[in-house]
């Protein structure tokens, strides 16, 4: 029987080919079953979407089954979120998220199929951790920074954490030769078990999805480096000479085995 626990992996091939095999191809196969387990919006994300002013349009980069496209639930149509994903089978589900025709586009999170700065907000939930190198994760963050307005854009990012909830069923491999402070993120396979009744064969199937589990502080470091590389100042809005654009961390936390950050763009 195939392993059900999380296992460490080393990426030895081209990262794009690696993602195609160990992320994209798997989501295409497990899409309906995966979607049936992903219906409850996480509170921080729902609150973020409820906090947006009317008339804002946003990008959900890695929308999956589109469960955030109908939000905020209390005022439908006050904002419009457009979903982007690499999995066509997940997008087919997202297209009708909440029983309404949604806006979805098929692309990679490292592409930029939009007008720069045309969105007011962007969310990327449980997506960037599927990219196989630090550089590619940084590029995905830069795409979010480029997609939103440099003067008022807001971005919310969630990624899987090395620190797991007690309630989580996962067993995480322990790396014991590193101190906690220096502990880096981990590249792992996380199994997805497709029950036997959803496939034609009689046996259940196990698919190992690639994840980069983020260490404490790694997400803020990634976002800061991505911004600085674009010439953005990291910190509160400043009138100091020479500083024209920046990002400010509004939230930075851990929820249910994930790290998240909310950043606001500013310009003077």
């Amino acid at each position: 029987m195939a392993s059900r626990s999380v296992t460490s992996v080393t990426i030895s091939e081209d990262p794009i080919a690696y993602e195609n095999t160990h992320v994209h191809a798997i989501y295409e196969q497990i899409a309906p079953h995966f979607s049936s387990t992903r219906y409850k919006p996480w509170p921080v994300i729902a609150a973020f979407l409820s906090s947006l002013p009317p008339g804002w349009v946003g990008l959900d980069s890695g929308t999956g089954n589109g469960k955030y496209l109908p939000l905020p639930a209390e005022s439908p149509g006050r904002v419009w979120t457009i979903g982007l994903d690499r999995s066509l089978n997940l997008l087919k589900i997202a297209k009708n998220a909440g029983g309404v025709c949604r806006e979805v586009i098929w692309a990679n999170v490292s592409d930029q199929p939009w007008r720069k700065g045309s969105f007011d907000y962007a969310i990327s939930i449980a997506t960037i951790h599927h990219l196989a190198t630090y550089e590619r994760r940084k590029q995905a963050v830069q795409r979010l920074l480029q997609a939103v307005s440099p003067s008022h854009g807001r971005i919310l990012i969630y990624v899987w954490a090395v620190d797991q909830d007690d309630l989580s069923k996962r067993e995480i491999p322990v790396v014991d030769d590193l101190s906690a402070a220096e502990e880096p993120g981990k590249d792992v396979f996380v199994p997805w078990v497709l029950p036997s009744d959803t496939v034609q064969t009689r046996q259940e199937q196990v698919f190992n999805r690639y994840y980069h589990m983020f260490a404490k502080g790694e997400l803020t470091q990634l976002v800061s480096e991505a911004a600085e590389e674009m010439g953005l100042y990291v910190g509160a809005k400043s009138e100091r000479a020479g500083i024209h654009r920046g990002i400010d961390f509004k939230q930075n936390g851990w929820e249910r085995s994930n790290y998240y950050v909310e950043v606001h763009c500013w310009a003077v």
Binding site: N20, G55, V57, P76, G77, C101, E103, I105, A107, W114
Partner: protein, 114 residues
């Protein structure tokens, strides 16, 4: 099929297609109409951020001439209803720049056309 609101946000991202890449051009166009919830607050706040000319030109190419060439100063009910319809209820397809390959997500058609 996407609504014209999305069409107003997308641009071609084929390598080298960095200028003149907005809006995406229609080809062998198909149109679909879908009702959407009317929300005047959304429309009024979104309006200043819209690429107006691109929206009006695209709507006209799809046969809808209900929007004026210049944005009106007075946002009356008739105008907002027309804007709502064009922006959120008219869906169209667009042609992909390249065929959809196994490892390559869609590339959108450039202004120059294929």
């Amino acid at each position: 099929m996407v609504r014209l609101i999305t069409h107003n946000l997308l641009a071609c991202h084929v390598k080298g297609c960095t200028s003149n890449n907005f809006p995406l051009q229609f080809q062998d166009v198909q149109i679909e109409l879908r009702e959407a919830d009317y929300n005047a607050d959304f429309l009024k706040a979104f309006l200043p951020k819209l690429e107006w000319k691109a929206l009006v030109d695209s709507a006209r190419k799809l046969g809808d001439t209900s929007l004026p060439l210049e944005q009106p100063e007075m946002l009356d009910n008739d105008f907002l209803k027309n804007l709502h319809h064009v922006l959120l209820e008219v869906l169209s397809n667009r042609r992909y720049h390249l065929q959809l390959l196994d490892e390559s997500p869609p590339r959108y058609m450039s202004r120059k056309g294929v």
